[in-house]
């Protein structure tokens, strides 16, 4: 099984952050890494993105929280998390011990919350970057998601950038008319990199009970079903921004990883696929190494944006 190609150079740069390879795990789908410790080779991963952290603990939504759809799933976890303080004291130590580059996904109801979380994360050892989830509703603006308005997206980016002492990755919402407009705004706001996409908004109905399948009524659609949308958005955004892009959305195979790299992503995050096959993230690192070698590439970087279109 241990046949990771010796010679393959898988290193990629996400701005100032160098990763040993472009395979990361996506927020909310990999817990705090420890959950997967017996099932995946954690050490092989490029980085681990943890479940979204808020200023204070959140209980999340009532059940049912998940429902399967065709080649996908809907979730309305409701951003359940232990809050930033307990995250630092309870969850970070394991990531630090393991020496895993941790990307901390953060979310808030207001600019102040984003700022406060970023400040609390200052100086914490082992944090490779902050990933800003801007798909959250801005309570002060009547609940419109930060990520659907270029101006608000830029402001939350700037706020976190000013407060953080690590690179800032901004995670884009796909539920917008023009993703390139948001991407440019976020880049102008100071983002060091963009990760995309978060989930599409969807819904399911249980016809027997005539009720929504999720207690929250609407939820986030993820999994292979959304891959074509994610790939398109990465491709569009890669053409208009100069910061690195991390591709996310339905990635479940080596082929998918390569598609996102070709479209212009410098790295990828594996989300829902971790549920289907908990070993997939580190398996993909090995498969990618074999591919780079078999294709005779001097570095995986040669694939980035190499689409002929």
């Amino acid at each position: 099984m241990e046949k990771i190609s010796e010679g393959a150079d898988l290193r990629v740069d996400i701005g100032s952050l160098e990763l040993q390879n472009p395979i990361m795990t996506a927020s909310g789908t990999f817990g705090y890494a420890r959950e997967f410790s017996q099932l995946v080779k954690l050490q092989k991963l490029g980085a681990v993105v943890v479940k979204g952290i808020s200023l204070r603990p959140r209980p999340g939504n009532p059940p049912p929280r998940i429902v399967e759809t065709s080649s996908g799933m809907l979730n309305a976890i409701g951003l359940q998390n232990v809050g930033v303080d307990r995250f630092i004291s309870e969850k970070m130590p394991y990531l630090q011990e393991q020496g895993l580059p941790a990307v901390v996904n953060i979310l808030g109801d207001s600019l102040e919350e984003y700022r406060d979380i970023a400040q609390k994360l200052r100086g914490v050892k082992g944090i490779a970057a902050i990933e800003v989830n801007i798909s959250c509703p801005n309570v002060k603006k009547g609940g419109v998601a930060f990520g659907t308005n270029p101006e608000m997206a830029a402001r939350v980016t700037r706020t976190v950038k000013d407060a953080a002492d690590v690179p800032v990755m901004v995670k884009l919402s796909p539920n917008v008319t023009d993703i390139t407009e948001i991407a440019r705004a976020v880049e102008a706001g100071g983002a060091d990199s963009l990760s995309m996409i978060n989930t599409l908004i969807g819904m399911g109905i249980d016809i027997k009970t005539r009720r929504p399948s999720l207690a929250n009524i609407i939820g986030g659609l993820s999994g292979p079903a959304i891959k074509p949308v994610a790939l398109r958005m990465v491709y569009q955004v890669a053409k208009v921004v100069s910061v690195p892009i991390i591709g996310i959305g339905g990635i479940s195979s080596l082929e998918d990883v390569i598609e996102f790299l070709l479209a212009g992503a410098s790295a990828v995050q594996i989300g829902t696929a971790n549920f289907v096959d908990p070993a997939i993230s580190s398996d993909l690192v090995e498969q990618l190494a074999d591919y780079v070698q078999a294709e005779g590439l001097s570095s995986v970087r040669e694939l980035i944006g190499a689409l002929e279109a």
Binding site: Q38, L39, G60, P63, I66, M73, I77
Partner: protein, 262 residues
């Protein structure tokens, strides 16, 4: 907790009724460490639909790496599972969750309804093995009709336990609910009740236990995506109103920990 993902070959397929199947797998790593009440998550490879693994209780394990599931066809995933044949391969993840707390050498009463019978066979074996007098272990098997109960009786009886059967329609042994049989048992106060079945049934079993002051462990279900505590999808409301995650904190709970619909 030693978790494994194994590609397991199907070693047996028994169709116990129109919709109920029992399947055996060679899954030595999982079988070696499994505990009664734990579950596995199963996936057929080669397609993204259905996408997610399906959770099933561990019905039985043997010393040669064999693992059995007992399931009912209710939707697409279980339909596809039921169509698999000997020699085909499936990915199994497990053992998962916290199983039953085995209270040995105290009278035990196991109450299973329908597919809730699934985890009780492995439990019965372990309890019987740890008991001086297995006949002090009572197992109440209930189902809608004969097909849900009869094929399983002998599997329980082999361990020398007392088996009581009942069916909603009276097509096997007697007509009635498991709770009626339970009431007749006049269980002693230190008896440990273990139950698995439809929520409404478990609620009634728990009610009975509360009345009689009996300890009651329940095995519950919830939609699951990961089975290992990562997705936070499988939440259930506890008695105190907070949430618990069935895949890691359950599926077995002391009944009083949970909120029960009245």
């Amino acid at each position: 907790m030693a978790q494994n993902q194994e590609n397991a070959i199907i070693t047996s397929v028994e169709q116990l009724s129109a919709e109920n199947f029992r399947m055996g797998f060679h899954a030595p790593k999982i079988a070696a460490v499994a505990h009664p009440g734990q579950f596995v998550m199963v996936r057929r490879m080669g397609s993204t639909d259905p996408l997610l693994r399906r959770p099933f209780c561990i019905h039985q394990v043997d010393d040669d790496g064999g693992l059995q599931l007992y399931f009912k066809v209710v939707g697409r995933g279980t339909k596809l599972l039921s169509q698999l044949t000997l020699g085909e391969e499936l990915s199994i993840l497990g053992p998962l969750g916290k199983g039953f707390a085995l209270v040995n050498n105290r009278p035990a009463c196991l109450v299973g309804g329908g597919l809730g019978i699934a985890p009780l066979l492995f439990l019965t074996r372990k309890l019987a093995e740890g008991a001086d007098d297995p006949s002090q272990i009572r197992v109440i098997l209930g189902g809608r009709s004969r097909a849900e109960v009869e094929p399983l009786v002998a599997d329980f009886e082999q361990y020398g336990v007392q088996v009581f059967s009942t069916t909603d329609d009276g097509s096997f042994v007697r007509k009635g609910f498991v709770t009626e049989v339970l009431q007749e048992q006049a269980l002693v106060a230190d008896c440990q009740v273990y139950t698995c079945g439809p929520e409404a049934m478990m609620a009634r079993v728990f009610e009975h236990c509360q009345e009689k002051g009996l300890a009651c462990q329940v095995s519950v279900e919830k939609e699951m995506a990961c089975g290992i505590g990562a997705c936070l999808g499988c939440c259930k409301t506890k008695a105190d109103g907070t949430y618990t995650h069935v895949c890691i904190n359950g599926p077995v709970y002391n009944a009083e920990e949970l909120q029960w619909k009245k």
